[in-house]
């Protein structure tokens, strides 16, 4: 994530020129220029930048007042003060504060960039990015490090924040939620971006529980909610199965799952057939037509497809077809799409299954060049 530099100066031309020069000289920085100190304060309250550049004399609020307010929100925020009215007293006042640079107008852009580099180095630490599977890992890391600061988390348009005070969580927000409920809600998120603002203090105290208590309760609630979402049946598991990517072999050109498309055709070809769709390896299964136990079929088809793939030397797609007496079973599988479709026709096994197999073979495997020729041989 780019480091953010916020500049506020009522000279609009200077802000505009700085933005252009900064984009050329420091393209890795995210620069934002404002002309109103009030607006700048709101922005800092929303999300403190990594560096504040402020003019001193501005209508409504002076740069020094802005500095004080900003430091209340983000105590370690580095600041560069620029002014055309520098005095010995002002310089002394500014230098008495930590992490504040001072530049007199007119200044050269190289000198401003050098000041920006110095200011950002003071807060650099180790920078980088990390992908963590779970938010609790991140919270635990900051808590154990006894961090003081705000952990800003975003997921889509929703903003969240957890404020640490010496490692303990003092305040949390998530959208409209606040306090422990906000932490619990954040723990439900399965992805997002985060950014730590070191030194930021909480605008209020909304959490009284220890971070350990929050994590234990949050994870318990998370488990409960996941159990609630767990498919209870093989049929539910099938519906909740992986969403196919566009171009996946189990989707037709319009993006409709083939098994859904095939249902009316099966009705035509083998009206009394039992039709089962399954996701091999998961036990998930769904009876599309006829009566059957999805759980039993899910397990049986998964095992059969695994073995058929091994038997054919890892063929990604295939049709397993067997007939005996008057019963026919055809199992179509697509390993990349993780789907198997079984048609069992006990009324007219040979004819129904053969017609259905011919149809599916043409449709499902048509992309394979080897199948683009005329149909092979006669039917049994």
């Amino acid at each position: 994530m780019s480091r953010r530099v916020l500049m506020v100066d009522d000279e609009e031309a200077l802000v505009w020129a700085t933005a252009r020069q900064m984009a050329k000289a420091r393209p890795d920085l995210a620069f934002e220029g404002l002309t109103s100190p009030g607006e700048a304060l709101d922005r800092i309250r929303q999300s403190p930048p990594d560096l504040l550049i402020t003019d001193v004399r501005m209508p409504g609020m002076s740069g020094l007042e802005l500095l004080l307010e900003a430091r209340t929100l983000a105590p370690r925020l580095p600041v560069i003060v620029i002014t055309a009215y520098g005095t010995a007293e002002l310089r002394a006042q500014i230098r008495s504060r930590a992490s504040v640079e001072y530049l007199e107008k007119p200044f050269s852009f190289p000198s401003l960039f050098a000041a920006v580099d110095r200011a950002l180095e003071t807060t650099m630490g180790f920078a980088g990015s990390v992908v963590l599977p779970m938010l609790p890992d991140l919270i635990q890391m900051y808590a154990l490090s006894r961090v003081t600061g705000a952990l800003r988390i975003t997921r889509g348009a929703t903003l969240g924040g957890i404020w640490f005070d010496g490692g303990q969580i003092s305040h949390a927000t998530c959208g409209d939620l606040k306090g422990a409920q906000a932490v619990y809600q954040l723990l439900r998120w399965e992805g997002g971006n985060f950014r730590l603002e070191p030194g930021a203090t909480a605008p209020e105290r909304s959490v009284s529980e220890s971070w350990q208590e929050l994590l234990i309760e949050g994870c318990r609630l998370l488990d409960e909610s996941r159990q609630g979402q767990e498919p209870e049946t093989a049929a539910d598991a099938f519906e909740a199965g992986p969403v196919s990517e566009p171009g996946s072999p189990d989707l037709d050109p319009e993006g409709i799952p083939v098994w859904l498309r095939l249902r009316p055709l099966i009705t035509e070809f083998a009206p009394r057939a039992l039709v089962v769709a399954a996701r091999p390896g998961t036990g998930a299964s769904r009876i599309l037509m006829g009566d059957g136990d999805p759980a039993l079929w899910g397990r049986a088809l998964g095992g059969l497809v695994d073995r058929a793939i091994a038997f054919t030397g890892e063929a990604p797609h295939g049709v397993f077809e067997c007939t005996w007496a008057n019963v026919g079973i055809a199992v179509f599988w697509s390993a990349p799409a993780r789907i198997a479709l079984a048609v069992v026709d006990s009324a007219d096994g040979h004819i129904g299954v053969s017609r259905f197999r011919s149809f599916v073979t043409r449709w499902w495997l048509a992309s394979e060049q080897e199948l683009s020729g005329p149909a092979t041989g006669g039917e049994r």
């Binding site: 397990r299 073995r307 091994a310 295939g318 049709v319 077809e321 067997c322 007939t323 069992v344 197999r357």
Partner: protein
């Protein structure tokens, strides 16, 4: 060449598009004989994968479910099963015989005449019944 291997060679030679033919003992998982133009059945894995697919409980379970008799756990291998597995490039045909204890497998190009395949396999099974221990 064993007599079983000779039967397999005849099957391959009589079918335009046939690539290999082999006979597997589904009880022991061993390859009893084969004629192979492409090396697909010489690999020890072939007999193992064949036994796993055609002699294992999974196929039996699918057949029982298909028969609408999910509660009976009787072995489905006793059925004289004919199985065809089509993949993108080749087809495999299998005919189980000797009360489910052996299988003859034919690998062929997709252009092979399916009716001729089954006719050849049925004819060979009558000869193999006495050759398979």
């Amino acid at each position: 060449m064993s007599e079983i291997g000779s039967v397999c060679r005849e099957v391959v030679s009589r079918l335009d598009g046939a690539i290999a033919c082999g006979v597997v003992d589904l009880v022991t998982g061993s390859l009893l004989g084969a004629h192979d133009r492409d090396g697909v059945m010489k690999d020890g894995l072939f007999a193992t994968a064949t036994t796993d697919l055609l002699g294992g409980a999974n196929l039996a379970r699918v057949l029982e479910l298909g028969r609408g008799d999910a509660t009976s756990a009787g072995p489905a291998q006793t059925l004289a099963l004919e199985i065809r597995i089509a993949t993108g490039t080749r087809d495999r045909y299998a005919k189980i015989f000797k009360q489910g204890e052996a299988v003859i497998v034919l690998e062929a190009e997709r252009r092979v005449n399916v009716g001729m395949v089954w006719a050849q396999l049925k004819a060979s099974v009558s000869r193999l019944e006495s050759l398979v221990p």
